[in-house]
Symmetry: C2
Subunit: 410 residues, 2 copies
């Protein structure tokens, strides 16, 4: 029976605790910031807010890059904008692949017409820097593309030294930090990488729909060499470059940088409410302090892991490279993973995550990100999971999980 | 001097009346809806809201199309998604071009690698249907692409009969209704066109960042024939098509439709707050009633035009095809257009629009869209403009504009 639009009432979602791999609950300050009214896109207050956003995201990305701004779309919009603006058809790209989001990079690149090489790790591990170095040597790529934290496997790829390897080989570098930004350290300048992108909906504690990006001067120069401004809006100082035109208009970083520069080239109409959200996310992050925030996420990850293990469950993947903000845990033999997730949601209003591909049905993914990387939320989640497992008949030592987590939080 | 992030305070934009060509002020109900907390993207309440959005936008698009949903990005994201999903490199496309946004269609299409033909009208006019028919006959396109209301010229292209012409020629059809949806009638089914897209930030009275789209069954079939699901998330029932792969992942309408279907393919993370906004925009539109809403915009356009003429100003473009929701008016000889705009903003907190390309410096564009298509806002704008023009020394008959507008509103 078709839905009758006249019957739909006020927006009224359940008050659910989102402890999956993201999206998570937004910080209430972010939701309130979005209720500010709109501005004309070239009003001085609006361009002032845009400049503030640029300044706010530089420390969060660990960079002094001038070109630090927002892409109007979800996290994957910024991934595609980066790749389509850096890579021309026929360019060779090396993808560091250790999970679903590494595969996503290859998928996007194949549509761009790149020649794709990969250096892989099994799901649950990361790629040793020596293997990356050897692959760069072997493939001589124009770009090396890598995920920082891949929520599909809960692994975080160590990135110190990547930029040096790439620059020595004459390659540019791209890092997808969607799942770690605001929760684990992003050190674009120390890593020496050229473009890093994120999203609001995980450790930044905002809604999906705006994607922070930072671009090095070297990458910006490469991109501006591909500048082809729209015929309808050409202006002085925006000479077209000699490089191949970027294959997308919406994701053309040259035009987007010109929009965020004092040139204020008309491109899209900035998603103002999402910009307000991104600004408030960043103010909250910097107000807490980056080190304190990373420590809080680390404590949450420690506590979650300790609690799960105290229940007798097996945590997934390599300890040394596990993301702090999402934990994979094996679904015990004989337990119906989806029945537990349903009971968690229906009895406790808590969401935990399922898994993709080879891990589907094998693990749950339990996050503690942004506004939800808090001790009481970790404890409530563990207590609820214990109750659900007991009710499903799984034998575990009752009462241990929460105690172990409190201990591990420190 | 670099901006110091620690100094940025609470979000606090000025309370400005946005009477330009968009974005405009959002309806307060829309801003409030965005402050609802987030949901997991496959939670039953979230997918329920997605289904409601599909139902809500069908009457707004004037369609029974199953595939009626949102693209996560600004209005131009939906334009690019439509074109990249319908058009393969080498396909011939006919663009109906009568302003900057027709040029934008050619710009996006040229990046896709389409062979582009145009049928043009001078800025300030629209293209006669007979000229479109002749151009279809001459060029035998696979797709005809057209803007409905082009804010750059304030003209609205009549579209009745377009679909019949296209179908008779075996062509698909696309219409960009960004600037008219929610303010002028959109009749996707009566026009017989295949894809129509919009944006929230004009007559729908919401923020930029979410773009409604409707897709006919014929277009959906064409697009599904190009389906190539990501390697990481393939599932039963999603067989790849034989057609050429769509050149973008983010804008791949086949995957986006699979995400909005009961298959719930994982693609992007839906921009939840923007979906709440889009839902509330639609509830407001349908609650007012489509006919009443279109009549209100028509009254606002009539009143604005009458008021401007009563001041002795010359309205731009053909009367018969003028958009109801934005009015172009010639900047009088000897008047500094930017000085007037600045005075309007600084003394009255009212924004009116500048212009692009051949009309830059020639006309102002004054909108009355969505929540701002109200009698008092039209009158306040006219009164303020009169005061600014008098202060700049322009000779006009004082007190006539507001009276003429009140009369014309009816």
């Amino acid at each position: 029976m078709p839905l009758d639009p006249t019957l739909f009432g006020e927006i009224d979602p359940p008050q659910r605790l989102l402890m999956g791999p993201g999206p998570v609950n937004a910080h209430p300050r972010v939701l309130r910031a979005m209720s500010a009214d709109l501005l004309g896109q070239f009003d001085p207050e609006m361009t002032g807010y845009m400049n503030q956003v640029m300044a706010l995201y530089r420390p969060i990305f660990g960079t002094a890059n001038r070109w630090t701004m927002l892409i109007d779309g979800t996290a994957r919009a910024a991934i595609e904008a980066s790749l389509v603006s850096l890579v021309a058809p026929g360019d060779r790209v090396l993808v560091v692949n250790f999970g679903r989001f590494g595969l996503l990079l290859t998928e996007i690149l194949s549509r761009i017409g790149a020649v794709i090489e990969t250096v892989d790790a099994p799901w649950g591990e990361t790629v040793p820097m020596e293997a990356i170095a050897a692959a760069i040597e072997r493939t001589a790529p124009k770009l090396v593309a890598c995920v920082h934290g891949d929520t599909s496997t809960t692994m975080a790829q160590p990135l110190d030294g990547l930029g040096d390897l790439c620059r020595a080989a004459g390659a540019l570098s791209y890092v997808d930090a969607t799942a770690t930004i605001g929760g684990m350290e992003i050190a674009a300048d120390r890593w020496g990488v050229d473009i890093v992108t994120g999203g609001l909906q995980k450790c930044l504690g905002g809604p999906s729909g705006s994607a922070p990006i930072t671009i090095s001067d070297a990458a910006a120069e490469h991109i501006f060499a591909r500048r082809h401004t729209e015929a309808g809006i050409r202006m002085a100082g925006l000479e077209d470059g000699a490089g191949p035109r970027i294959g997308s208009n919406y994701f053309d970083l040259a035009m987007i940088m010109d929009y965020w520069s004092e040139k204020r080239l008309n491109h899209h109409t900035e998603a103002t409410s999402m910009l307000y959200a991104a600004r408030e996310c960043a103010r909250i992050v910097l107000g807490e302090g980056l080190d304190a925030r990373y420590a809080r996420h680390a404590a949450a990850g420690r506590a979650m892991t300790a609690g799960l293990r105290a229940m007798g469950l097996t945590v997934f993947g390599a300890d040394a490279t596990r993301m702090t903000n999402v934990t994979g845990v094996h679904i015990p033999h004989g337990v119906d993973g989806e029945a537990i997730r349903r009971m968690m949601r229906e009895a406790f209003e808590i969401e935990i995550g399922t898994a993709f591909g080879p891990l589907a049905g094998q693990i749950w993914r339990i996050g503690a990100m942004g506004y939800n990387a808090m001790r009481h939320k970790v404890l409530l989640t563990l207590g609820a999971l214990e109750a659900c497992l007991l009710r499903e008949g799984f034998a575990l030592p009752p009462g241990k999980a929460v105690a172990a987590a409190m201990e591990a939080w420190g």
